[in-house]
Amino acid sequence: MAERTAPQVEDADSTAKGVSEETSSSTPSVGAQAEDALHAGPIALETRGLSLYYGAFRALADINMKLPARRIMAIIGPSGCGKSSLLRCFNRMNELIPETRLEGQILFRGEDLYATDVDPTEVRHLIGMVFQKPNPFPKSIYDNVAFGPQIHGFSGSLDELVERSLTQAALWDEVKDRLKKSALELSGGQQQRLCIARALAVGPEVILMDEPASALDPLATLKIEDLMQELAENYTIVIVTHNMQQAARVSHFTAFMTTEGGGEPGRLVEVDSRDVIFTTPKDQRTQDYITGRYG
């Protein structure tokens, strides 16, 4: 399997990139789910005892998971299990909702994203996000991609960056002759790839995707999935999806979350390599979910 052989290359890479040793070889107590596969490569993100509250409502309880760098982690689970809430914790987007409170830690390269001296805009600079419904700005295609670099005071050649980002998002050939045209003229699938290009242009290391293909037709979905595979060579990708086939197709690792019903917080049941989750999950609830007996 590709993802079993790759980590050795990653390891050499990781020391070079300064990924902290203690994170990648952290204590096994962090969860019974922490499998060998999750330890093999460098870790991009790690949650420790993460709980999330919306006012008095506890949306997430005690989430402990590690997300290997430059891999695709899919988070699956029934509606309302908090998978999107968890995703938004990674780039501190939940803070835009009033009365949100977080307990525990999220480590990014070993640093707590929620430390008091960390600015959320800096977190979002490093950890980009793509949303469920394509949401390009009502500006030109060019200006959409240039938006992020401009707000961060990018000083290099904007033209080159726009071209590179659009190329990475597999959109350049389709739009290179109409960069000044409105982004709203693009099809839904193109708009979503534009949103990916827009996120890439900022220069993130992680890309969060919240059901990025659920508003798209099957062909456009396929393109997005192919794109994710390509991007995973350079980026850590976290995708939330309610589509199990999609998780099975694209992810290297899969996390299953669930809730015991309305009012109960979402919990992480199991996280492992995709093949383990989809063939020999350890937890009965995971088994039930992936075989369609639940959810």
Binding site: N91, M93, L96, P98, T121, E122, V123, R124, H125, G128, M129, F131, K133, N135, P136, F137, P138, K139, S140, F147, G148, I151, H152, K180, K181, S182, L184, C195, R198, A199, V202
Partner: protein, 297 residues
């Protein structure tokens, strides 16, 4: 028989549909007829006197020599300053309430009171203007005092209209901006304002249209009813502190005279006021369309 019964019920339903259709059409027509009558009368009485001499002359005791220069210029000066004050103030307030203010009781009270202020009779603002601007600030009966009174008068409407426009910005766009690492100001500046700007502009100019026809507050604060000079005639820099009169006051003045010549002049004044109003609204529509096209391109 079933077929007959069905057709009878159908006929009655069709009749009801026709009656309601006619009722609504009549209601609309009533308004149109009244408005048309008004306009035709005003234009028939007013147009004969409308010429360059009328526009370019000062009011006079003699109807044949009377013109509308000073009230027209007074209106333009007051409106210019009102726009200058009310647009930034209204927009900034709306931005604060929509984007920055914490969602608590105090904010809710402020918001309710702004809506209430929009319904306060304009003469009350005149009393306020008289007390605050004319007396406390010693601005006297100047263009500036008039413009400030008008600003206070239309500020609630400007704020409400701007807030509506700001609220129409889809949250998916602001979320996208934040997710790219934008600060709140960058999001407001680059996403919220460009999107809401046409609506804000429309709202501001509509509230200006209300101000242009207001008579009561300016009479209350003591704007003159007879002015034989234009603000800024002894130096443009002094214009804000010059006394003034405005179109509706002059129209009121003429209309309250017994002579029929003055009645006709009042109609001519109304025509001028309508033209100013139309030009302003047309300008608003043009500007809005330009910005809207800019958004879509």
């Amino acid at each position: 028989m079933r077929a007959v019964a069905a057709s009878r019920s159908l006929r009655s339903r069709k009749l009801k549909a026709m009656v309601s259709h006619a009722l609504f059409a009549t209601a609309t027509l009533t308004g149109i007829i009244v408005l048309a009558t008004l306009l035709v009368r005003v234009f028939m009485e007013g147009l004969p006197q409308l010429d360059w001499g009328f526009i370019n002359s000062f009011p006079s005791r003699l109807p044949s020599r009377a013109g509308i220069l000073s009230p027209l210029m007074g209106t333009l000066w007051v409106m210019a300053f009102t726009a200058l004050f009310s647009f930034p103030l209204g927009l900034a307030t709306a931005l604060y309430l929509e984007q920055y203010a914490p969602q608590n009781k105090i904010t809710a009270i402020i918001q309710t009171n702004i809506s209430n202020l929009a319904g306060v009779p304009s003469i009350v603002y005149g009393i306020l203007g008289l007390t605050v601007f004319v007396r406390w600030f010693s601005l006297d009966r100047s263009v500036l005092a008039g413009a400030l009174t008008m600003t206070i008068l239309i500020l609630p409407i400007t704020i409400i209209a701007s807030r509506e426009a700001l609220r129409s910005v889809p949250s998916s766009l602001t979320t996208a901006s934040y997710a790219l690492g934008a600060t709140q100001w960058q999001t407001v500046r680059r996403v919220v304002l460009p999107y809401a700007f046409p609506g804000i502009l429309t709202g501001t100019i509509l509230s200006m249209s209300r101000a242009i026809g207001e008579t009561a507050p300016l009479l209350m604060m003591g704007a003159l009813t007879f002015v034989a000079f234009v603000p800024g005639s002894d130096g443009l820099a002094r214009a804000p502190l010059d006394p003034f009169t405005v179109l509706p006051i002059q129209i009121f003045n003429w209309a309250s005279r017994p002579q029929s010549e003055f009645q006709d002049l009042a109609a001519t004044g109304i025509v001028v006021l309508l033209v100013v109003l139309l030009v302003m609204n047309a300008g608003a529509i043009l500007l809005r369309d330009r910005f809207q096209r800019k958004i879509q391109d």
